[in-house]
Symmetry: C2
Subunit: 391 residues, 2 copies
């Protein structure tokens, strides 16, 4: 196991009606002038924004609204938010929504207190300082509610890139599973896929002797396999939603990824798809993961056999472990299809003729050296082959 530091100081307030604690929590963590940052009209129509603002007002806090965050959140709104925060002397940013709202809030939080262009952080600069951020989560997916990460798409060039820093870990995150009950099945399934992808990205490691984190990742995958179909069948199943919501946070606050190398090639390969076609990130991952795993499986057949046996319940073929490994990948693919995710490039709205563009952006965009590295280092030819496996 490698040396590591693990620091997750977010206060998670979980359960029914917890959004009414937003005001008290903002106050506890020092906010007085609050930007409420969210996406489309559903948060308004459902009355959630009103409830959150009422809770802020009850604590004597002043709030400002900035809606309009899109899935695969864009740099334009971030610049707008930074300007608003500076103009109004905002000292706390409360994201209401999913990963997109939270990631946009984190970018605004870091950018507001930074002299240069906030995009510097998305080009590799570590975030040392930011306004405090809190969240009211409305979809279990990105894990941004407990992570030090943010992903934003730069409109100039449509690069989708990530930034990191303990300063943008939320001070608190309110997780009310009931708020996720009104999600359309497709978005629920895309969230489930994203959570499972976060687990697989950590599972694919080159670090030996990491039993404790292997087992924890497997535990969370088993949870998703059990609860995912239950929530697709019955969207009102509060308990299934609750199990998925906590698994989604645990999958990405890195408690099960510490001390080991991780992959993240699948995320990078997918980011090109959602940046170019604006498909749901989770939907892109459902097509990407089986293709990547099929391509890199031979790098460590026993690792893929392990997850096949321990998570997917495959029989171990001791004479031919690659058969078991492949069976596990196929079960993953079928699971995604069973919850309503796409299976191919075409279903994503992606086009074969764009592959050279995708590969170029992936391998060279924003200063990359012609390869992407992770579980396996992949060059242009590898990435082309992987996109072709998705056709």
């Amino acid at each position: 196991m490698n040396n590591f530091t693990f620091y997750s100081p977010t206060c998670f307030v979980f359960g029914k009606d917890t959004e009414n604690q937003a005001g008290a929590l903002v106050k506890r963590f020092g906010g007085s002038r609050v930007l409420v940052h969210f996406g489309g009209g559903s948060a308004i129509r459902s009355g959630l924004i009103d409830r959150v603002e009422a809770s802020l007002k009850a604590e004597g806090l002043v709030s400002f609204r900035l809606g309009g965050v899109k899935p695969n959140p864009r740099s334009g709104l971030v610049y707008e938010g930074i300007e608003l925060c500076r103009k109004e002397n905002i000292d706390f940013i409360l994201a209401v929504g999913g990963g997109s709202s939270i990631d946009s809030a984190k970018a605004i939080a870091a950018g507001t207190v930074y002299d240069g262009d906030f995009w510097d952080f998305y080009s590799g600069k570590y975030i040392e300082e930011a306004l405090p951020v809190g969240t009211v989560l409305t979809i279990a997916a990105a894990g941004s509610e407990g992570s030090p990460d943010s992903v934003i798409t730069l409109e100039d060039g449509m690069f989708k890139r990530g930034a990191s820093g303990d300063a943008i870990r939320p001070k608190f995150s309110i997780l009310n599973p009931a708020l996720t009950q009104t999600l359309p099945p497709y978005q629920t399934a895309a969230g489930i896929t994203d959570i499972m992808a976060h687990l697989y990205e950590r599972y694919l490691t080159n670090t030996p002797e990491v039993e404790v984190t292997d087992r924890m990742i497997e535990a969370l995958l088993l949870t998703m396999i059990h609860e995912g179909p239950r929530v697709i069948e019955n969207p009102d199943n509060y308990d299934a939603r609750a199990n998925i919501m906590w698994a989604g946070m645990m999958a990405h606050n890195n408690s099960c990824g510490v001390g080991r190398s991780q992959d993240w090639n699948s995320h990078n390969i997918e980011h090109e798809l959602s940046a170019l076609y604006d498909c749901a990130h989770g939907a892109g991952l459902a097509v990407t993961l089986p293709a990547v795993f099929t391509y890199v499986m031979n790098h460590d057949v026993m690792r893929f056999a392990q997850v096949a046996v321990r998570v997917w319940g495959c029989q171990m073929d001791f004479a031919h472990p690659e058969v078991t490994a492949r069976e596990g990948i196929e079960k993953l693919r079928q699971f995604f299809i069973s919850i309503g995710m796409p299976r191919s490039f075409a279903e994503l709205g992606a086009k074969e003729e764009d592959i050279p563009t995708l590969v170029h952006s992936l391998c060279y965009g924003d200063g990359r050296p012609g390869t992407i590295s992770g579980f396996v280092t992949l060059n242009e030819e590898d990435c082309t082959n992987i996109y072709r496996l998705m056709l």
Copy 2:
């Protein structure tokens, strides 16, 4: 799943040579005059205290020593520490050792800034305020490095009781698995047992639909079953030590215990044994757990069958689930014996004729109402029967 709040703001610094970061970490978390609190001579003889003090000195911090913490730490040294902290205007307490040193440090931290008797906290008062605490952990066991809890024995009456409060969660905890390599096998095994007990106490719940935490607890139990025997066979196995150390923290910071009722009857039943006979807490638990589980099994046979199948690899007897449940308890008992733990009252140094004394202290001591509650509420007769099962 029940509503809950989860807050674990401790910064965990994990791996080889990390004790040399103690000074920088104390400084980062605001300390300048530091009480270094530890147990016996082994921390001095090994040079660990010197290394830690050198690291404090390198950051320009002033330190004071208070050694002498005993296993099952006592109130006397806590009073002494409180006096020293007040006299020397100490503003940070650094525990170097295992759960005993850390729990004693937490008690001193809370008592120093409290007007009344620190024992109030161990009689049920929540700890709202305390000096900041940091830890350098030398045994994977108690989980106190990541918990808001402390257990102290009151010398007047030999009551062993717990206290709680987010204020005593360590600001940082340094976890270097190499520091645990010199532990005698008996202590290593007692630590393994304690970790597994923390997991079982959370597993025994009356809350339905808690798949995610069930699975996480099972993952950590599987880790202990895999790594425990490896470290007993080869005490120098760094990786096995590392897996156990992270599992020990995760087992008790409550990330796998949220949203569900928990048991803790086994801990209470054991505390009477280690208070009266001064046996190792883990050794007491090795004898206690199988007895308690045998006694309460019929309260929820399927739960015991589940852990038997998922963790212990038992075949499910669908016609007679109680057979499977019992098999899982027997496997647990045999596991403890296999790593060198005692199997009976006699091996603990406990005496049959003391059972009435143990039961009376357990059920009435320090204001209890004649029963203890958890997975099952147990009265005097139940507790007597359980102690008799350990003979």
